[in-house]
Amino acid sequence: MIRPVVDLGELERGLGEIPDPEVPVLTIADLGVLRSVADEGGRIVVTITPTYSGCPAMHHIENRIAEVLDAAEVEGEVRVTFSPAWTTDWISADGRRKLREYGIAPPRTTEVALTIGRRQIACPQCGSTDTETISEFGSTACKALMRCLECREPFDHFKEL
């Protein structure tokens, strides 16, 4: 049987454009959730990793990937891996810029966060670092709820993990 040649690079670009359902300005490629697209003896294996163990978006993302594979008429499967564990350090520079523009303070590198602690998060609205934590968890598991003491705006911070 002759199987159609799949352009893995093109497929990966297409899959990478799937938006994250909870932070829709980011794609699963920006987030580093999409780990790899591989051809395993004619079967395409898409490997993804959850941001948090209980991330409720994973099932949705798996369905979207299946749709993209179907549309490209590709025989494939989605594999979920926990190892290596996802880290915010995998969020692309472009992803961080998009987060800031969206009003979410992007994560700093985990190295910086470990050195200087969780404080000193710059307000995405006015840039002031005079901010305080309202709650360790915001609207989703990956965000904390903060307030800027300079411009008084509340904002989400994408937590370093």
Partner: protein, 264 residues
């Protein structure tokens, strides 16, 4: 059948179920505390804490799901996460008795969480070097979540303990009530030694001493006393639970048991 071969058969069974029981113990700790925290959704003291508690619950639930799936794979009898979470009876649960204790007031919820977090951080940290690669991967992910949970719960314990007279008194009462259930965290299901010897599970002793150091340091910051009563209620790891677990399971499992295989 001779008595000798009968003994051999029992021994083999014990070796086979030990790793499954160990993974179930970790999974059950997470599922039961997730269910307890879930009871507070829409009932927390304020909106921010409501959301935070729901998110912590979700982390625990996510960890439980991965662990149940792994337990089912090791067991090899085709049981999936739903079968293990919703199809087992009280005596089959291997969670530490701490996590099944009721929410009580906010202080009791936070102190219970703090004790669990102080245990899970060193436990997951050590489990991330397990010879079982799946477990090591789940633990490496979970330890990051547990560290964040510990940051939050310990800051609450300090804030409440070193707060007003009322909050201090309530938090001390929570510590006094829950302390006797903390020893059970470090217990292991039957056959625990074989799982440690094979490198699947970490040794319990260093984890217990890290737990002890964390608890003493945070309680000191919180101006709270470590109870002196040495009594510890053990037994959760072998299925001997307190009166609370059965009630929790009844509420959690009835839908699945009434309508097996029900889908949304």
């Amino acid at each position: 059948m001779t008595p000798a071969s009968d003994t051999a058969r029992v021994d083999t069974a014990a070796v086979d179920t030990a790793p499954v029981d160990l993974v179930l113990a970790i999974a059950d700790d997470n599922l039961i505390v997730a269910q307890r925290l879930g009871e507070l959704i829409s009932r927390s003291p304020d909106l921010e804490e409501d959301i935070a508690i729901a998110n912590v619950s979700l982390d625990h639930l996510g960890q439980a799901r991965s662990l149940y799936t792994r337990a089912g794979e090791i067991e090899g009898r085709g049981r999936d996460e739903d079968d293990l979470a919703l199809g087992r009876d009280e005596r089959d649960f291997r969670n530490a008795v701490l996590v099944e204790q009721p929410n009580g007031d906010f202080a009791q919820t936070m102190v219970r969480q703090f004790f669990l977090d102080a245990y899970q951080v060193p436990f997951y940290d050590a489990l991330s070097s397990s010879t079982d690669e799946s477990l090591a991967g789940i633990a490496a992910k979970a330890v990051k979540e547990a560290r964040y949970h510990l940051e939050r719960s310990s800051s609450w314990v300090v804030r409440l303990g070193d707060g007003t007279d009322e909050s201090h008194q309530r938090t001390q009462a929570a510590v006094d009530t829950l302390w006797r259930y903390t020893g059970d965290l470090h217990e292991r299901p039957a056959g625990g030694e074989t799982v440690v010897n094979s490198g699947v599970a970490p040794d319990a002793e260093p984890i217990a001493s890290t737990f002890d150091a964390t608890v003493r340091s945070v309680l000191a910051d919180a101006t709270l006393d470590v109870p002196e009563d040495p009594y510890q209620r053990l037994g959760g790891r072998v299925g001997t639970h307190t009166e609370h677990l059965g009630h929790l399971l009844t509420e959690m499992q009835w839908l699945h048991r009434t309508h097996p295989g029900a889908q949304w």
